[in-house]
Every structure is written in structure tokens, then in C-alpha cells.
Amino acid sequence: MLRIIGGTVYDPANGINGQVKDLFIDGGKLVASAAEGRTIDATGMVIFPGGVDVHTHVAGGSINFARAMTPEDHRRTQAFIRSQTRRSGIGGMAPTTFATGYLYAGMGWTTVNEAAVPVLSARHTHEELADIPIVDKSCLVLMANNEIMLDLLEEGEYERAKQIVAWHIWAAKAYGVKAVNPGGVAAWKWGKNASQLTDPIEGYATLTPGSIVTHLARIVAELGIPHPLHLHCNNLGVPGNISTTLETVKHLDGARAHLAHLQYHAYGGDDWDTMKSEAAQLADYFNSHPNLTTDAGAVLFGDTVTISADGPWQHLLYKLTGRKWGNLDVENETGCGIVPYTYRPSNLVNAVQWATGLELLLLIDDPWRVFLSTDHPNGACFWRYPEIIQLLMSADFRKECMAPLPTAIKNRITLPEIDREYTLYEIATIISAGPARALGLHHKGNLGEGMDADIVIYNREDDIARMFGHPRYVIKGGEIVIEEGDIRETPDGREYLVKPFYEPDTEEFLRPRFEDRYCMSFENYPVEMERIERSQIQACASPDSSDSPQ
């Protein structure tokens, strides 16, 4: 049992905005009262629900490929030293698994969603997730370039395609569905891309990226998956892609969707010389379409490594930078590309990207629908989130950061005209309550009775980045894991999954198609349930109700 008394609580899920309130914890949950146990005097301190990352890349083949490609970064970055209770590890651009858990928990994040998992290597992803301590985890399976499903959609077999999606979610032991560059990754297998939403995809007669978006969003809704289709639009990172993004969301036909890393999809202009931010236009559309949520995919200046299932984009980035390029195409399902990258304030394109991410966060007016992310490690590493919080909370700090940007940036961004400053209540919404709700994890990001006792306690400080980078206490599942900057306990987190319904004959239908394309036996393909450590299956909405629960 644990009591936290006298703290100033920000709990947007319950409309609590800076009230002094005592919290009681028993059995890992928040309860109405606790008679005994340790008492933390949080007088003068700020209390948030634990952070929730809706979109990050922390485990699996791609990030592990990135680790292999960046030994020079490991050598210069921070190192965790082992102790009796703590494993050693390396931080930096692509942190090792143990360090990932310590770094997330160290800044008060207690739930993370790994956004891109191929079924073929899902076993590997789960093995890595099991090695990330403290935080709870979930992951999304990549479907929008699965050729068995694409073939069915081309043949007009919608119902079958739906069964196949449900089967794959369970086979991957995933929590939801991610679509990356629909059709574009499949085309990349021939070195091509899919850049027009209404053009047939390479290798198909009639199937278009637009129709994949329409069908997949409907499938996810009909299966009752708690998290709507997680959508990475076509033409990521390309000047002028705002038109693709707007066209993509129209193909949703009003279905719910989460738009991943929106910053990378909000550009105007015709080429790299004329590229500019269209965040204002996109935010405007977004504000009037309540079926959408998004995460920023914000960029910070500095070194990182970019990894994405978007193979064509990574090849373009490699050609632009001339730096290392890793690419891994995964049979039938997806691919991934890896390129180390440095965002520089002196580089006009990078400066526009930096401003675009912040503009989206500041111009989308409902904090329940836009969440903090950097698409780790693509825009910046996750452990730099406190810097973004500071940029959102201080217009003066933003001005300071804009000073060194190239003068040519004028008229390409709107950031200088925005004076909005986030409140603590809004920050608590975009880093915790909002993403938890979008993920359908209703016991997270919520300090109400009966909810998971994932709690962060900050010292109130003028230096915002410091305050959010170094919480005084972090409590995960009722246990104090961080205290005064020290890692105290390293409990293992849970893994959330869903098991959507599929017709019993799906497997026999799939088997010959699978054997045709893959080179492993069908029995070896799905991840066995015993392999998921501390799994927790979340309910899907009943197939009848087309609206998932809010």
C-alpha cells in the first residue's frame, strides 16, 4: 500500500485540473483509501498519470538492424552500469532493450506501443519486448502490404480479407493494425513506389492505395479492435504530400483512424527548394474531423537514425544524404529501411520539418486527438520528449530556437505567428490521457479509482525540460520504480494483445496461399501464446456494433 498526499493532480481523464488531492494505492491499482503503507508527501509537487507512447520503435528486426548500423553512436553515448537488480545497457539513438525501459521510466513513461511488426519476425519482436523492463507494452502488426490480403481485395473478396486480417493480428500476438504506405512497400519489392492514391499498384490490375485504406479502416472497425487503423500515409516526407494526406483521409469514408507521425505528411511546395509547411491547412481539416487522432512525429535538431517500413522513402533519404543505408524486405508482408541522419537548424528542409511538428501540436485545438511523439527514433530519440514539452509550454523559448534558422524560412512556416502555450493540463492530455484513450487502454492515463497505479510526481521547476526529464518519483503498477533520479525497482511490464474473431476455416483457406509464398512451414508462422510473457488480452467490441467504444 502507498499513499501520496498533498500533491497537485492533473488527471484529464477525470477532469481534474491542478487540484490538491490525495492518492491511495493498493494491489497495483488506485483505490479510495489506504490505511497503512509508505506515505509520500507530495506537497508542492505536480502529479500526472504515467506517460503513454502511442507510436515508437523500440523492439524487433528494424530497430535491431539500426543498432547494428550505429556502433559508433553506442561508443559515445550514455551507458547504464549493471547492479544486482539492474542490467547494463547503452542509450543513444537506438538504445538497447534494458536501457529502453530505464530511459522511458526515468522520464515517467509507463506504457509504450511498438508501431510496426511483421508477422514473420513477430517472435523476435516479442522476445525483445520481454527484455524491456518496467513499462507495459503493445504492438501493431503491419498489414497494408500483405500480398495475400491485397490479392483478396483485388479479387473483391472483402469478407475473406477481413478474416485474414483478424487471423494475422492473432498470429502476430499484436494489439492492432498498422498500415504503412499502402501498396507502396509491395511495389518497392520491384524498386517502385505507390504515390497516387487512385492509380493501380505495381503488380495489380485494379487495386489502389486508396481502396486499401478504405477497406482496412473498415475491417479494423468491424473487428472491434480497440485501437483504430494506425495509418502511415503514402508519400512520407515528400514535398507537396499534403494533397496525398488529405486524399488519404477522405478514403477513410468517415471511419476512425490514427494518423501516424503527421509532421512527415504535412508539406507543401513542389520540390526540396520550395518545400514549406502546410500544418495550418492540415490542422484545419483535422479540427473538423473528429474521426481522426494523430501523433506529431516531431523533429528535433541533432543526430538520429531513421527507420521505417517505408522502403522507398528510405532509399530516397539515402540518395539525399549519401550516408549508410540499410534495407530489409520481408517476404509477402513488408520491408524496412534504415538511414542515420542529422537534422540541422541551418538546413532549410530540416528547419521546416522542425517547425511543422510544433505547428501541428499547437494548431490542432483538441489535445485529446494530437499526441506527443517523435516517431522514435526517426524525428528524434524518445528521451528528448521533455525538450518538446518545453517548446510547447513556452512561446519565448520557441522564439529563441527560431532565431538561428535560415532567413529563407520566412513564409514557409507559421510558427512565428503562434503564441499558444500549453498548460500542464494539456500536456498531461497529450502525453498520457489522450494516447491511452486512443489506444483503448482505459485503465491507463487515468488516476480514477480502480485504474492502474502508473503515476509520475514532478518537482515544480521553472526549467520545464528539466522538470519533465527528471521526475522526483515514478510509480509503475503501484511500485516506486524511480526515486530521486535512481532506478529502485525494475519489475517486468505486461504485454497487451487482442484476439479478434475469425471464421474457423480461415486457417485452411490460408495454408495453400501461405505455402506458395513463404519458405517456412505454416505451423511455424504464428507466435505461440506461451512465448508472450505476462500477456493480457484486451476485449474487442462485439462484431455487430460498428463503432468501437470510446
Binding site: H74, R75, R76, G89, R123, H124, N327, D516
Partner: protein, 319 residues
């Protein structure tokens, strides 16, 4: 420049109409490779199977695998790197002299023909074997081949893939990377992982006599390492976990017999393309698995009093 452009084996099976083996002998080293993944498979995109694929073998000698190839290019020993550099230049239409080509043991006609075929392919793949990665200039050779494959993407789809050795080498490499950031050659003696192959690789540590205990799982260094390394293993307490009696187990102070993985112990094996495969035991063994033994040793050590003392939690940057 560097990096690696690759794919899973199913992509090769489904799409590769142009396959190069460089310094590899799959017919003898990976007996199921041709039939399962590359040459013989038919697919939606290559309906006639072998007939739809062109296979090139580059090697210093005529191995058994050469019989399976359409084209054999016999490179002069030690000239792989030069040949790859010449190909990289010729692909980009840069000048290369006749003398430079002659040094590789091949003719301009052979190379022009090869490049035309590479550029004409829809999906090309280059496998490189031990013959390339373990000979003179090993890292340079692999890097040059990976770069050639990456650069070919300016013309058509091209990937490259190493043909890894026996056992679950790939799996060890994958796990070390997610836990420490590095694939092998790691030292933990400062309490956090440091990487320096050539200094921290097993053979270097043993030859220098820098270790006072050895714990060996699923490997037989006593059969392959240089004599000074083996001598040191015999001198120190060496503990071996192995289902069989091996050269190493004979010189070890302790040999714990374990159940053979994949036959009598479950687990995961990583394919050469880093795809994890579940291992399902067909037999029961009276012996514990490697995992069980390691876990029990770890628990016993954890039960001992804290011997590490106070250390900082973290270094903000390494020196």
C-alpha cells in the same frame, strides 16, 4: 558509405531472377539452400522456377556448387576486393584499364556481360559466403559487396545477404545486439558493454591470457582456435555446456551434458536472414536444456551477497 541492403529468403524464392554466389559453396555447406530458397523454387513471379533464374558463381576454384550455375567466374585468389571495385566502377560507366581487369583473372567481355545481366534483372541478389568474408581483407570484402548491391538500386532492385556459418550464430548475434548494442567481441568488465573485435573477441582474450575463467555454450573452440588460445583454456577453469563430448569438453574442468537444442530442447533458432524459427523438440532428454542450466547458475550467483559494491548508475558519456 556503407550499410546493408537485404531481404528475407522468401523474397529470393518469390522474386530473384538473378542470383550471384560469391565465395560460397551452398551445395556442400548449406545442402538445402538451393532447393528450399533459391534455384529450384517456383513462384507467382517466376512460374518456371529454375528456368526463370540466372545463377552466377564467383569463386577462386571450381566447387561442387559451380555445377548448379549458368555462369562461373573464376577470380584470382585474393583479388575479390579488386574485382568488386572494378564492377562498382563499370556499373557507373567509369573507366577501367585492361591491366586492372586482367589482374582479377577475368576478361572485359565477362564483366561487361555480367553487368548487362545485373542491370537487366528485375530482382538481383548476391549471397556471399565464408570464402569472401573470412579471407584477406574480410571486412573490406563484405562491405564492398554490400555497397555494390546498394548502388545497383540506382538501376534495378538488388539485395545482398551473408551465408552464415553453422548452428545458431545468427541468433547469438541478434540477441547480443538487442541486449548490448553489439553483435560479438563485447567486454563487460567495466559494468557496461564495450565493443572492440580484435581486442575483446574470444580468441584475442584467450591468446593474451586475459581471462581467468571460461564458460562455453554450444561451441567447440578447442577444435578450431589457435594453439595458444587452447592452451590457455586448459590452464583456467573452463566450463562447457554441450550435449556431446568435444575437443573443448575434454580439456574443460567441468562438462555439463545438456539436451541438444531443437532435438530434445525447445527454443528459437534464427535463420541466416534473421527470421526466428521455433525449435520443437522431437525427443525427450534426461538432461536439462542449456537455458535451464544457465538460469540455475544465474540464480545461485544472485543469491550470493552483493560483491559489486557501490557503482554509479549511469555514465552520461563514455570516454
Amino acid at each position: 558509405m556503407g550499410g546493408k541492403v537485404t531481404c528475407t529468403l522468401g523474397e529470393v524464392k518469390n522474386r530473384a531472377d538473378f542470383i550471384v554466389y560469391w565465395g560460397g559453396n551452398p551445395a556442400e555447406c548449406h545442402p538445402r539452400h538451393f532447393t528450399k530458397y533459391t534455384l529450384m523454387q517456383k513462384s507467382k513471379f517466376l512460374p518456371r522456377g529454375r528456368k526463370d533464374r540466372t545463377v552466377v558463381m564467383v569463386d577462386i576454384r571450381e566447387t561442387k556448387s559451380v555445377k548448379a550455375a549458368d555462369i562461373f567466374l573464376q577470380v584470382r585468389p585474393g583479388k575479390d576486393f579488386e574485382l568488386m571495385t572494378i564492377l562498382r566502377a563499370m556499373v557507373k560507366d567509369q573507366e577501367v584499364s585492361d591491366e586492372q581487369i586482367a589482374e582479377t583473372g577475368l576478361t572485359r567481355e565477362q564483366l561487361t556481360d555480367l553487368i548487362a545481366r545485373m542491370k537487366g534483372a528485375r530482382f538481383g541478389v548476391m549471397f556471399f559466403g565464408m570464402g569472401l568474408s573470412m579471407t584477406r581483407g574480410k571486412h573490406m570484402n563484405s562491405a564492398a559487396l554490400l555497397t555494390l548491391a546498394a548502388e545497383m538500386n540506382a538501376f534495378t532492385k538488388f539485395v545482398a545477404m551473408p551465408m552464415r556459418g553453422h548452428g545458431n550464430v545468427t541468433g547469438a548475434d541478434v540477441i547480443m545486439r538487442w541486449q548490448t548494442g553489439y553483435p560479438f567481441g563485447i567486454s563487460f568488465n567495466r559494468g557496461y558493454p564495450r565493443y572492440n573485435p580484435g581486442e575483446f573477441s574470444t580468441v584475442d582474450v584467450l591468446v593474451r591470457g586475459d581471462t581467468d575463467c571460461a564458460f562455453i555454450i554450444g561451441a567447440d573452440p578447442g577444435a578450431t582456435m589457435p594453439q595458444p588460445a587452447i592452451d590457455h583454456l586448459a590452464k583456467i577453469p573452463t566450463i562447457v555446456l554441450d550435449p556431446h563430448v568435444t575437443h573443448t569438453s575434454r580439456l574443460a574442468r567441468v562438462h555439463i551434458t545438456t539436451a541438444p537444442a531443437g532435438i530434445a530442447a525447445p527454443g528459437t533458432g534464427y535463420r541466416m536472414d534473421e527470421i526466428p524459427m521455433p525449435l520443437r523438440p522431437a525427443l525427450e532428454s534426461p538432461y536439462p536444456s542449456d537455458e535451464e542450466v544457465v538460469r540455475r547458475i544465474k540464480e545461485a550467483i544472485a543469491a550470493k551477497p552483493d560483491w559489486m559494491g557501490q557503482q554509479p548508475q549511469m555514465l552520461l558519456s563514455q570516454i
